[in-house]
């Protein structure tokens, strides 16, 4: 009898042990663990199999190196020419980051103006939406012609390219406040700038971040496309050089280098978003 009481007591005191003893729960935990591993391993497996297919195709059909390099050659190039790649990544990164900063800052400022001066918004917002629907690769050459050579024009191109999506999203975000919260602010006799700081701006933050995530990759595209014409350095210039020299390994390595930067940029923004938007219970990734 005493041991009975003791057993009951232990079970109640340590739910963890009780759970471990419960076979259904143990099985569920094991399934969870397996699912977690699968989530991590399967993408790696997928990438590995594609790499293998790439290698096999190049080897089997004996594809000429200037048409498509084998993956191991690209990897070797990434390693051997890392100094050239990094030297060219720098200017592109600086252009993309500065363009990103400038373009988004101006976009937020213009969105603020639009929301407070409806007349200006009505005059220009439709045009902004129209320009925004033009693909980046179509916009960039126009800007290259307009802005010419040097680093500043590339920053300008990246900025202009970031500007439009952010402006469109920011205007939507600033206007996404519920009529009822505006009425609340009215009952509290809040001033226009207080409504902006306390209500509109926080409401727009998730919208801003979804624009920033787009802008993070388009800024890089803008900088690269800007370097395509008459540029001596940068990822874009290196892409053009490698293409004209039929150096496919360098071309692939350069593209990988640029994409890696773009992905890192995107992930950094997403991390910032996770920190800033804790209050939204389900924010779509």
């Amino acid at each position: 009898m005493a041991s009975d009481v003791g057993m009951v007591h232990t079970a109640a005191a340590s739910p963890a042990r009780a759970a471990a003893a419960d076979p259904a729960r143990a099985a569920w935990l094991a399934a969870q663990r397996w699912a977690r591993w699968k989530r991590r391993l399967l993408p790696l497996l997928g990438a590995a199999s594609l790499l293998f297919a790439w290698w096999a195709l190049v080897a089997f059909f004996q594809v000429k190196p200037f048409i498509a390099p084998a993956p191991q050659v690209v990897a070797a190039t990434l390693w051997q020419k890392s100094d050239i790649l990094l030297a060219n990544l720098w200017p592109t990164a600086i252009e993309a980051l500065s363009g990103f900063l400038i373009g988004n800052l101006v976009a937020v400022a213009v969105a603020t103006l639009f929301v407070h001066r409806k007349g200006i918004e009505m005059a220009f917002f439709p045009i902004v939406v129209l320009i925004n629907s033009i693909p980046v690769v179509a916009k960039a050459p126009i800007l290259v012609l307009l802005l010419g050579n040097g680093m500043a024009p590339k920053i300008a191109i990246a900025a202009v390219i970031c500007f439009f999506p952010t402006l469109v999203n920011m205007v939507r975000g600033l206007e996404a406040v519920s009529p009822q919260s505006l009425e609340l602010m009215h009952v509290l006799s809040a001033r226009t700038w207080e409504v902006f700081i306390r209500l509109r701006l926080p409401t727009s933050i998730p919208y801003l971040f979804s624009a920033l995530k787009i802008a993070a990759s388009t800024a890089v595209v803008g900088a690269i496309v800007g370097e395509w014409i008459g540029s001596q350095e940068g990822i874009g210039a290196l892409i053009i050089q490698a293409t004209y020299n039929f150096d496919s390994a360098l071309l692939y390595a350069t593209v990988i280098c640029g994409s890696a930067f773009s992905v890192a940029f995107f992930l950094a923004i997403r991390m910032l978003e996770r920190i800033c938007v804790r209050w939204a219970p389900q924010s779509q990734s």
Binding site: S178, Q180, S181, E183, L184, M185, H186, V187, L188, S189, A190, R191, E194, V195, R198, L199, P202, I205, R278, W279, A280, P281
Partner: protein, 260 residues
């Protein structure tokens, strides 16, 4: 409080207030020729069919909507003046909390906007405790239940001891039990603070249980059907709803409501 308040003035006074909403296809007479007057510290419940202008009436008193014709005074002042002096607290149908602010910071909002005229009364912490949310100060709105969110918004409306509390179906989305409890909490707060309350509801029982008078509105156009006094013993307790007097009053309210 200030020189603009006439002592002994009614808390709310409407003279022939009409509100028409214009749109391209039609013109809605939301309110037509509404007149009544409420003495300070009274509790009025508003009943009426959907679309009869109950929300509009509260919004006129809160200076959110301007009357198309007629006039009104709130505490003897123009409603805009009363609003700027923070004499009016408004509880919306859904809690309307700012989702990025904790419960406590939501209650504090009135202190941070509108030049926040320095007012006495309870602190935000005390108000959260008053509505039974002590210990939930740091919780974000999405971590609270619907009833808890609504209580936060009541605490927010009570900040600064407003003399008028306007409540638009505040408990409409809650289950019966929670609603009963919040009704009692509200009566408790009303007795403690002595504010004048205008309370919109769709529930006949809630209207009878809470109000000293029930203002019955008829629809299309929204107009006063009848002002029905509630003579039930004070202070009210939930058991009162099982009495014959309460049943008779509820029956009468239902009969009038059916003719609206």
């Amino acid at each position: 409080m200030g020189p603009a308040i006439t002592p002994g003035a009614p808390a709310v006074e409407l003279h022939g207030v009409s509100v028409r909403f214009m749109s391209e296809r039609r013109e809605v007479a939301a309110l037509e020729d509404i007149s009544f007057s409420l003495s300070p510290g009274s509790f009025l419940t508003l009943l009426g069919p959907s679309g009869c202008g109950k929300s509009t009436l509260l919004r006129v008193v809160a200076d959110i909507v301007a009357p198309t014709s007629g006039s009104l005074r709130v505490l003897g002042q123009a409603p805009g003046e009363a609003r700027r002096r923070r004499e009016i607290g408004f509880v919306f149908q859904d809690a309307t909390l700012l989702p990025w602010r904790s419960a406590l910071d939501n209650v504090r909002l009135p202190l941070q906007v509108g030049g926040s005229p320095a007012r006495g009364g309870r602190s935000p912490e005390e108000l959260l405790a008053l509505v039974g949310l002590a210990g939930w100060e740091k919780a974000l709105p999405h971590e609270l239940s619907g009833g808890m969110r609504q209580r936060v918004s009541i605490a927010r409306a009570l900040l600064g001891d407003p003399k008028i509390l306007l409540m638009d179906e505040p408990f409409g989305a809650l289950d019966e039990i929670t609603r009963d409890r919040l009704n009692d909490e509200l009566l408790h707060i009303w007795r403690q603070t002595g504010t004048t309350i205008l309370f919109v509801t769709h529930s006949i029982h809630e209207a009878a249980y809470l109000g000293q008078q029930v203002l019955m509105l008829a629809a299309r156009p929204g107009r006063v059907r009848e002002m029905i006094p509630v003579d039930l013993p004070e202070p009210r307790q939930l058991a009162i709803r099982d009495t014959a007097g309460f049943g008779a009053l509820a029956g009468r309210l239902r009969a009038v409501l059916e003719t609206c």
